[in-house]
């Protein structure tokens, strides 16, 4: 009992901070989401709207379109990051000349602020001055203009996210791979298992919790991407890269549609939780030993 009290005392500062800076703002957002509130409306006060905002979301084509491109973005970006991150992690597990140098270089994007990442990629993709359109034009004769081509803008935003965040996946998976005991691998080799069998039956199950944690982190990050995309494309061309974070930003800040923007935020949070739960049950639950 005594040690329990001491534990709560130690935790108290964190709980207080979390309550005031996490729980309270969240409850406020939920509260606002049940109101119609635009400070620049004829009536700038909050007007109780019951579930009106949530009803509107269901029929809001802009929101649904934004959700659609976000899901596609998250799927391609996170899947590629996990695959490439694993390949790189495996590469960094073995020794090769210049390994330390390459590992450092590869990690550098992680320390760059998202808004700067967006600026860098904007410079690299702007027609007439960008290195990427220049190289594509001179090598394969392709005119890249992410201000005009929706597909190009979508692919470039995914590429930018992969460039920025794959190192995080790599580092996490290196940590997981390093911590694996050598015995099961030696045993499998003695039993004549191939590389693919070792990966599928030993490595993957053993690093699954790490992969899952990484996927969750990246999934949540990718779902709320704003800064880089806002800087690179502004959500365009048209609404091709108006991902849900950008959509919420536009609703809440320039349009000052606080009530509706809050409702979208709540729905997106709910969807994120559902997706994570589905992933968890889909990937980890089947591996749990069955009773009976």
């Amino acid at each position: 009992m005594k040690s329990n009290t001491f534990g709560w005392i130690l935790l108290a500062p964190t709980i207080v901070v979390l309550f005031f800076f996490g729980v309270l703002p969240f409850l406020y957002v939920v509260y606002v989401s049940f109101h119609q509130w635009n400070p620049f409306a004829a009536n700038p006060n909050m007007i109780y709207n019951a579930a009106g905002n949530f009803r509107q979301i269901v029929f809001d084509s802009a929101f649904l379109a934004s959700l659609g491109v976000t899901v596609a973005f998250v799927f391609f970006a996170v899947l590629t990051e996990v695959v490439v991150g694993y390949v790189l992690a495996q590469a960094f597990m073995s020794d090769f000349p210049g390994k330390a140098f390459f590992r450092t270089i590869h990690t550098l994007p992680l320390i760059i602020a998202p808004i700067i990442v967006g600026s860098i990629w904007k410079l690299m993709t702007t027609p007439s001055i960008g290195i990427i359109p220049h190289l594509l034009q001179s090598s394969v004769g392709f005119d890249l203009n992410i201000g005009q081509s929706a597909a190009a803008a979508f692919i470039i935003t995914i590429t930018m996210d992969i460039w920025h965040w794959t190192p995080l996946v790599t580092l996490t998976l290196i940590a997981a791979l390093v911590s694996l005991p050598p015995d099961p691998f030696e045993q499998a080799q003695i039993d004549g298992a191939g590389k693919w069998q070792i990966f599928w039956h030993i490595t993957l199950p053993m690093i699954a919790p790490a992969v899952m944690a990484t996927v969750f982190i990246r999934l949540m990050d990718a779902l709320r991407i704003v800064d880089e995309v806002l800087m690179l494309t502004g959500g365009g061309p048209g609404s091709a890269t108006r991902y849900i974070g950008v959509h919420i930003f536009r609703e809440v800040f320039p349009r000052t549609n606080y009530g509706y923007g809050s409702a979208i935020s709540v729905v997106v949070l709910y969807l994120t939780i559902v997706v994570c739960w589905l992933l968890y049950t889909g990937m980890l639950a089947p591996r749990k030993p069955r009773k009976g």
């Binding site: 635009n38 400070p39 620049f40 409306a41 004829a42 009536n43 700038p44 802009a62 904007k122 702007t126 027609p127 007439s128 001055i129 005119d143 203009n145 992410i146 201000g147 005009q148 929706a150 494309t233 502004g234 959500g235 365009g236 061309p237 048209g238 609404s239 091709a240 890269t241 108006r242 536009r250 609703e251 800040f253 320039p254 349009r255 000052t256 549609n257």
Partner: protein
């Protein structure tokens, strides 16, 4: 010594002494008035533009030297500036003592009572009133920041979005001859939309034929940034006779033709198609260009003509470290449809965008008196000439006659003269308190028009309907 010479020397000495005495007395005023606020630190937020940077780098340190009041100016992006200022004023936290008010947002701020009445505040506290500051010294641009005759923002930048053209290209005999041969007309700055298109088409083809990085026109046509929306509604549509974004406040804020508005009128549709054609023959970066990139494109010598925000005019025309076209930039009025100039002269319409902003004092500021002193300081005639030379903005009438400004005007090819003489033909944004809301509601459709997802006619119909829907939702349209 001749009596006349003696008199002259005496007069000069008296003038010199009185000038020195006046300056000393001014310094005394600032020191005395600021005495109770010495050590106060004022915080301001503004967009990172040449005029704002001048305040941050020159005027704020000068003010601190005279008053002991430190002013920390945060210069940031356009979006962030709004975000920070509005959140602070909405929540009443009082982080900022000075905020940048772009002309188009003033009506929203006034509707929400965010700003202190500067005229009244100075009347109520005469001990803070500097003899060198007077509301009447501002140009007519200050009227945008007035309500009931009182001033709510000290103008700090004002410029026109003008038609810029490359004098070196327009005066090149070979190009002139080729243009004449192709079109049958002399090459000169355009005055009509048809002439402008003809010149733009010619130069884009000329660039292709001569393997040059040259196009016929700029286009502020970003497919995901409000800059394109602004170029169309504030600079292009008015030249076709579509004013105030095509929204008629007197007709229950109608936007559709059906209800008496003009956002989807034939004129609006013609304007959009004209501009879309220019976008198609503009440099490829236009689809990603905001106002800054348009200026950069023009400065890089990649466009023969275009509409460029005046805040960039000075550096494009004179700063060789940033511009390849120094000394080669001509300025003219935007091209117009018949009747638009008459509308502008009679006050019924306008020919283009009078861009600018002011510094205001939020009601939520906890340092009202010190901030008032700072606003007076930047509004004085005496600080204006250096500021006007560093950034091409003029907010005080007397600044036009300052010798250094006249010299700069000659260097710029008459940009300030145009501001002085033709400024009245331009106008800022319409007096709507729902500026950003209507823009954001309609912009996604506009971007779809730019990408070709929706046709211009259908798109403008949708935008007009959306604008009315938004205005109804906001409670302005009954």
């Amino acid at each position: 010594m001749n009596v006349r010479v003696k008199l002259g020397v005496t007069a000069f000495a008296v003038a010199l002494m009185s000038g020195t005495a006046l300056a000393a007395s001014n310094d005394d005023f600032w020191a005395k008035a600021a005495e109770p606020y010495k050590g106060v630190v004022l915080h301001g937020v503004t967009e990172s533009t040449p005029p704002s940077n001048y305040i941050k780098d020159v005027l704020a340190p000068e003010f601190e030297k005279k008053t002991g009041i430190k002013v920390e100016i945060e210069t940031t992006s356009w979006d962030q500036m709004y975000d920070k200022a509005i959140k602070d004023m909405e929540a009443g936290t009082g982080i900022y003592d000075v905020v940048y008010i772009e002309q188009d947002i003033i009506y929203s701020y006034l509707a929400r009572n965010f700003l202190t009445d500067i005229t009244k505040a100075l009347k109520d506290k005469p001990e803070l009133k500097a003899s060198t500051y007077d509301d009447a010294k501002f140009t007519s641009f200050a009227n945008y920041f007035k309500q009931g005759g009182d001033l709510y923002g000290v103008p700090m930048e004002a410029f026109l979005k003008v038609y810029c053209y490359r004098k070196d290209l327009f005066n090149d005999p070979e190009i002139q001859a080729a243009f004449k041969k192709q079109t049958g007309h002399d090459l000169k700055p355009a005055t009509t939309h048809e002439e402008y298109t003809e010149i733009a088409d010619f130069f884009t083809q000329w660039g292709k034929d001569h393997n040059m990085q040259l196009w016929g026109s700029t286009a502020q046509a970003h497919t995901g940034h409000a800059a394109s929306w602004y170029e169309y509604f504030e600079s292009v549509a008015p030249t076709f006779g579509v004013y105030n974004w095509g929204i008629d406040a007197s007709k229950n804020y109608a936007a559709t033709v059906e209800h008496g508005g003009g956002m989807n009128s034939d004129k609006a549709k013609a304007a959009l198609k004209w501009w879309l054609h220019l976008r198609d023959i503009a440099p490829p970066e236009s689809a990603q260009s905001t106002w800054s990139e348009v200026a950069t494109t023009f400065a890089a010598g990649r466009a023969a003509q275009g509409l460029v925000y005046g805040e960039n005019a000075a550096w494009i025309a004179t700063d060789a470290s940033k511009s390849k076209v120094t000394g080669q930039v001509g300025f003219a009025l935007p091209v117009l449809s018949p009747g638009v100039l008459d509308d502008a002269k009679s006050g019924k319409g306008y020919v283009g965008y009078y861009d600018g902003g002011a510094f205001g004092l939020p009601v939520s500021s906890k340092n009202q008196e010190a901030a008032l002193l700072f606003l007076e300081f930047i509004g004085q005639d005496e600080v204006q000439p250096g500021w006007a030379v560093a950034a091409p903005r003029i907010t005080n009438t007397a600044t036009f006659d300052a010798p250094e400004v006249k010299a700069m005007d000659a260097k710029l090819g008459g940009f300030y003269t145009m501001l002085k003489d033709e400024g009245k033909l331009f106008a800022g944004a319409p007096p709507y308190p729902f500026h950003a809301q209507v823009r954001e509601a309609t912009a996604p459709i506009f971007y779809d028009i730019l990408t070709g997802k929706v046709g211009p006619d259908e798109g403008l119909d949708k935008m007009a309907a959306k604008a009315e829907e938004e205005l109804t939702s906001l409670g302005y349209r009954k």
